[in-house]
């Protein structure tokens, strides 16, 4: 009965349009009250869900991404990407994907990526005769790359949800190869769709232009190195590196480029606070929801159930992927990670799957969910920028879904894609 209340209230409120954070909080509160437990525990868990030291990275990475977007760093990264791949068929689509790798190295957020890259690329693509739905779909799918390129605060959330014993440096490293794979798959898809629709290629700008683009992009690219190198080598903690990212972004945009005036600085700061508040409130309420699931022993029941279904790891991983894809359609990234990690990680561990490997699977899976309605924040942002309805985007998004799911399966069944690189560092 407790579980029916927990999931029933959550699902019911979700359907009537209550914000997700409140669906999670109110469902937890209702369940605790029904069980006759002190309701205080719900708010204690909301508080401690938001309060782990590693959570400090979230406002910092979001803030740094916001500053970079407004302060001229995103444009420079895109310009550099354009010199590299603009001459391929569907050139601007290719640029869009490559820019997501670069920008993803700064922001850990797919939404930030979609608004930064999409804000610049979608109007440009429309002007050059690309269909808007194509521009929107390339942007939305490429944005998922940001989740896998280090740094990714979602990997930090995963590490915490897994009990804190998973190395953040290893998780960051593990995302790199899958990110490149996803980028490759999306570039191929963008190419094929571009050929079918007859989109142009840009002229090749020549080696000098590439070199010039690189020099201009160096300060932005350097930040990727500072963050990743800092965490990997242990010079900085993840929290500290995220703070350095903010300081560096402030220095670059306020002092070096001087592209950020007072009003934009205020907007960036208040915008980062708003975004962080919403993300972390969901994390907090998901923490309470997750605590109740542990209290009601859902993880143990899931393991028993899964074992009954099959004892073949290939089948179990496929089942988990399907469940995650379905959950991903109506759940956002952070609650997905917080709620699913304690349930599924023990299951896959029992089948010998490395927690780092599972982290990559979970994050890519939840990332695909960011592009699926009814709750698809990345898709919504891209659609809003491109002034395309979600239905229009859905009609032509399938090739890109296909590419993402293919990469997901590859990553699921070939652990080496995730584990080879971190193992080199060990």
């Amino acid at each position: 009965m407790e579980l029916w209340i927990l999931f029933g209230v959550f699902g019911g409120l979700l359907l009537i349009g209550t914000p997700v954070s409140f669906c999670l909080g109110i469902a937890s509160l209702a369940t605790v009250v029904y069980m006759g437990l002190p309701a205080m525990v719900v708010f204690q868990q909301i508080n401690s869900g938001m309060n782990a030291f590693a959570m400090l990275t979230i406002p910092f990475f979001i803030y740094a991404g916001d500053l970079m977007m407004r302060g001229g760093i995103a444009d420079r990264l895109i310009a550099f990407a354009a010199t590299l791949v603009g001459h391929l068929r569907g050139g601007l689509g290719q640029v869009n994907v490559l820019a997501s790798i670069f920008f993803g190295g700064i922001s850990g957020s797919a939404v930030a990526d979609a608004s930064a890259i999409g804000g610049i690329m979608i109007p440009q693509m429309a002007k050059r005769g690309y269909d808007k739905d194509y521009a929107v779909n390339v942007t939305a799918n490429a944005a998922i790359i940001a989740l896998l390129v280090p740094p990714s605060h979602n990997m930090i959330i995963y590490s915490l949800a897994a009990g804190g014993n998973i190395s953040i440096a290893d998780l960051f490293t593990a995302g790199i190869v899958p990110a490149l794979l996803l980028a490759l798959a999306l570039m191929i898809t963008a190419y094929i769709v571009a050929v079918r629709r007859g989109y142009p290629a840009e002229p090749f700008p020549g080696g000098m232009a590439i070199a010039r683009g690189f020099v201009v992009a160096v300060p932005g690219l350097l930040l990727i190195g500072i963050i990743f190198g800092g965490v990997r080598s242990g010079v900085f903690t993840a929290t500290e590196s995220s703070c350095i990212a903010v300081l560096y972004a402030l220095l670059l945009t306020l002092v070096v480029y001087r592209q950020l005036d007072w009003n934009e600085f205020v907007d960036a700061t208040l915008g980062a606070v708003r975004t962080t508040a919403m993300v972390l409130l969901v994390i907090g309420t998901a923490g309470a929801f997750g605590w109740l699931m542990a209290f009601l022993q859902v993880p143990a029941a899931t393991i028993a159930f899964m074992r009954q279904l099959s004892d073949n790891p290939v089948v179990i991983l496929l089942l988990i992927n399907i469940v995650l894809l379905v959950l991903g359609t109506f759940m956002d990234m952070a609650p997905m990670i917080i709620i699913c990690t304690p349930i599924f990680l023990p299951v896959v561990k029992a089948f010998g799957v490395d927690p780092i490997h599972f982290g990559v699977i979970l994050i890519l899976n939840a990332g695909i969910g960011l592009n699926t309605p009814p709750v698809g924040s990345v898709q919504f942002v891209a659609c809003a920028i491109g002034k395309v309805t979600i239905a229009e985007s859905m009609r032509t998004i399938w090739p890109f879904y296909g590419a993402s799911v293919a990469v997901l399966l590859l990553i699921t069944y070939v652990p080496a894609f995730s584990l080879w690189l971190p193992n080199l560092f060990r």
Binding site: M40, V41, Q45, S48, N165, G234, A238, A294, F295, P342
Partner: protein
Amino acid sequence: QTVTLRSTDIHPDGYPTIEAVKFMGSLIEQRTGGRIKINVFHSAQLGGEKDTIEQTRFGVIDMNRINMAPFNNLIAETNVPSLPFLFRSVAHMRKVMDGEIGDGILNAFSAHGLVGLAFYDSGARSFYNSKRPIATLADMKGMKIRVQQSDMFIDLVNALGANATPMPFGEVYTSLQTGVIDGAENNWPSFESTRHFEVAKFYSLTEHSMSPEVLVMSKRSFDRLSAGDRDIVRAAARESVAKMRELWEAREKSSEATVRGRGAQVNPVEKQAFIDAMRPIYEKYVKDAALKAMVAKIQAVTLA
């Protein structure tokens, strides 16, 4: 009607403290004809130490097997057995905690919504780190050491010339690996079960603390039981201590063997300088007359 008491622990399944509480549960189940059971939530499933202490006080969970240090900032009496180099040996500590001094400390929990049921000892805690063997006090200098979230442990490590970093248990492995901290301190079984030896191989036998751990029950849950059942619970908790010690000693040996076999480097320590450096800790945490008397009494206990 049957009652299932929920008990929590930060250690993984199979750890001696968890097996001891399960054993206690089986005693209670037998003696109440199955009316009362214990369900142990291991691996911090219901939260970290600070969270579960609060949950136990509010009566959300019924029992908690937990370290003494997280209580230090709440209950003054718990500082005493946590004092560095207070006990001369494990035998000395057991004699003290099993006697009236131990009972006095257990009673102190009742002012905070808790019922102290029993002490589970946890051997001696020593420092380990990723940089170098600690042989003399000078080797501690500048080292960043994780401590439990307790002011006394912060002051202890700072007094040794190192840099104390209070941090929740669950964040230590990653922090060692990424160099946020150079080391931490714990007993053999925890050093092994947390896999910290993989990332910090120098284990130096400072044996600076023999602070026992404690099994507490929520006062709200305890008061709901009939007087007869309360006696059964208390007695079973006491009896589980012997079981715990037996499991603990075996585990200590096997853990030590495991980590040595996996390349941990163990070295003895010049202890006197460490002991001498602890005077300010005693001055700061043993202020009032009652605590001073308790310390003097503990020091006077002899092993006959």
